[in-house]
């Protein structure tokens, strides 16, 4: 069971969190100008790397804030945890 560092509450067990998939996939500024393929990209296409992955988590049982985590999808090591709206730190 992962120990996920919430930027506000500190490390907590993974059962307190919900997962939000790949981070840094913004809602298009004006969806009406996005073609079908790119819109499908926003809706459905996410990276699936074997390795470091920036992903979203929400501390559901705690402060209920969304944040981003950089985690290795094979070793499950976590190298960073940072608030939404900030860019991915240069780690790993």
């Amino acid at each position: 069971m992962l120990r996920i560092p919430c930027p506000w509450c500190g490390p907590r067990d993974e059962t307190e969190f919900c997962y939000g998939g790949q981070a840094h996939v913004p809602y298009p500024a004006d969806p009406s100008t996005v073609d079908d393929a790119d819109w499908a990209g926003y809706l459905f296409f996410r990276d699936n790397p074997k390795g470091w992955f920036a992903e979203r988590w929400m501390h559901r049982a705690g402060c209920q804030r969304w944040f981003n985590v950089v985690r290795h999808t094979v070793t499950y090591e976590i190298s960073a945890s940072y608030p939404p709206g900030t860019s991915r730190p240069d780690v790993a």
Binding site: R12, G62, C63
Partner: protein, 205 residues
């Protein structure tokens, strides 16, 4: 001025009549009915807490902590988000407690929402209280880590709760959504079974 006697007579908390047993020398569970509870949220992108603090008359706590002023307790819930736990309101009952209006009128981008009836307030106390909590709570409760004045919003068994260590008995005050209250009490009493039996002078109350 005292609370409206007519209303007090018909008021029923989520645990009224539902918490019959659960007290012994090593651990006790009790219902703390009738508190005035307010969820307070300020805009997180600006410091909106100053005006609230002057309206309250005491400072709001930092992350993972509580602050108090006499019978008033403030518990950190999240960034810019607190639970206020105050004595029962006096005066005639209105749709929302006077404290809510006072906070709303304090200015700043904030919301104050009454949740007095939305939570059950429990106290779990005694030397075995940390052990009872540890049966269903993954937070580290060791005094080095979770001392007096600390609070946490987390899962206790299958209920989301907020709890704070309020004295060194130790006593934990636990806030749980009303609709989960009976479940949580049943769980706490089950988790405390061994400890309740440790004490031959066990009483109900």
């Amino acid at each position: 001025m005292t609370a409206d006697p007519g209303l007090l007579a018909v008021r029923r908390g989520p645990l009224t009549g539902a918490l019959a047993a659960g007290s012994a020398q090593t651990v006790a569970v009790r219902d703390v009915p009738g508190r005035t509870l307010v969820e307070l949220r300020v805009a997180t992108n600006q410091d909106g807490s100053g005006a609230v603090e002057s309206a309250l008359g005491f400072d709001l706590p930092a992350a993972g902590h509580t602050s108090r002023d006499g019978q008033q307790l403030a518990v950190w819930l999240g960034p810019g988000w607190w639970l206020l736990d105050a004595p029962a309101a006096t005066g005639p009952r209105t749709l929302e407690a006077p404290l809510v209006h006072r906070l709303r009128d304090s200015g700043g981008e904030l919301s104050a929402v009454e949740v007095s009836a939305g939570f059950a307030v429990l106290e779990l106390s005694g030397p075995r209280a940390p052990a009872v909590l540890a049966h269903g709570c993954s937070i580290d409760l060791h005094p080095r880590v979770f001392g007096r004045g600390r609070s946490a919003r987390t899962m206790l068994a299958k209920a989301q709760v907020v709890f704070a260590l309020t004295d060194d008995a130790p006593t934990y005050r636990i806030w749980v959504r009303s609709s989960f209250a009976r479940y949580l009490v049943a769980w706490l009493l089950d988790a405390a079974t061994e400890y309740l039996c440790e004490d031959p002078t066990r009483s109900s109350g």
